[in-house]
């Protein structure tokens, strides 16, 4: 990385702070949700006429992936996705969402190292989301 002081994160900053906190989530949510809805492989799982509610859920997901405050536990994740698992949700769909998460952060010029950290957090929910 450059030596610019602007971009030198202090060592005790959390990932969430490094990414830009709530403002960053707000910037990411429309981009991310648009990618998901535009992807024919997975958009049936997001096809909800209440787009506001869907967007709010995407925001909660991104906040968690960004290392932000969240109260979700594994059981919540399982319960929330059980209906989708019945609809056929599997690893390939999870991979597609991971792709869009990465692409969204890339589009927002987030450094690769931080994208990797966010992806790792999202990845940690895989088994719960897929009900494994």
């Amino acid at each position: 990385m450059s030596e610019s002081q602007e971009t030198t994160a202090s060592p005790d900053q959390t990932l969430y702070e490094k990414l830009g906190g709530e403002a960053a989530v707000n910037a990411a949510v429309d981009i991310f949700y648009r990618k998901v809805l535009g992807d024919y492989r997975i958009n049936r799982f997001f096809d909800n006429s209440d787009m506001e509610k869907q967007a709010a859920k995407q925001k909660a997901f991104l906040t968690m992936a960004f290392g932000g405050p969240n109260n979700y536990n594994g059981q919540d994740m399982r319960n929330a996705h059980a209906r989708l698992v019945k609809m056929g949700l599997n690893a390939s769909h999870f991979d597609a969402v991971m792709e869009h998460l990465g692409a969204t952060l890339t589009e927002l010029n987030v450094p690769a190292e931080l994208i990797g950290q966010a992806a790792a957090i999202a990845e940690s929910t895989r088994n719960d989301v897929l009900g494994k």
Binding site: D30, E52, K53, A60, N70
Partner: protein
Amino acid sequence: MRSITIGESTFSCQPDETVLETLLRENVKVPNGCRQGLCQACLMRSLDNSPPASAQVGLKDTLQKQKYFLACVCRPERNMTVALPNQQGASIEAGVIKKQRLTPDIIRLVLEYQTPFNFFAGQFVNLKRADGLTRSYSIANIPKNDNILEFHIRRLPNGQFSSWVHDELEPGAQLTLSEAQGSCHYLSGRAEQPLMLIGTGSGLAPLYGILADALAQDHSGPIHLYHGSRDLNGLYFVEEMRELAAEFDNFHYTSCVSGDASESDHVKGRAHDIALSSIETLKGWRVFLCGHPEMVNQSKRMAFMKGASIADIYADAFHVMQDKK
């Protein structure tokens, strides 16, 4: 210590407790999810004081204006009287003062009320007749201190309420009205933002109100209204709209007919298809969608994919009440 009043009960909110925590502790059923102010499952409304701004983060601006808040992140600064979104407030009485047939399918109904009543043009109320039969209709006029509410009521096949309005309701009759509801309305601010209004049939009613509101508040950005119907019986106010378009440089009006309308001077096709294909991008636009649920849901998605932000899309889907037989 602050108190929280809901319905007939009042509870005290312990220091550091949120409204959600207080209500759950007192066994009041409030839907909830993330408890971080994100999922919006615990949406509630303050009936008196404005809620703390921190409890309104992420809510649609129209909902903020109506004092909605998220109970899970609301630490009350004052005593609050609150309600769940589906809890009805007080109802009022209003008398029919005018009934006009606009097309064979659509009646313009004007009511006058006596008790104070707050609303935004584009919101809806439940109209209830004496025997209790109730339907929701959108308000087509802006508040002007004249105690008037205007509705456009389309006759639905086998529609109990709409047939009664068309065939039997007479000036002088009384109706009971719920409080005004819904978040599909105009708010001042961002006056230069382009507006896209798309409606089918009597979906023009809320859009007509929203348009009147925007023009009355000197909205300076371009305003595009697309009104569509399957046949000519669903199109109305065509001359009024054309006159408004002639009067206001920033207002543009397009009437659309999706079924057979040869010989007419309307654009052929579905209003939302024509509207959304006319624009390269909706990035930065404010979008209002009213009418047929399928049209509204499709257009919402299309508008979002075309670049409109979710926060800038306001929608009112007219669901048809199924009569229980």
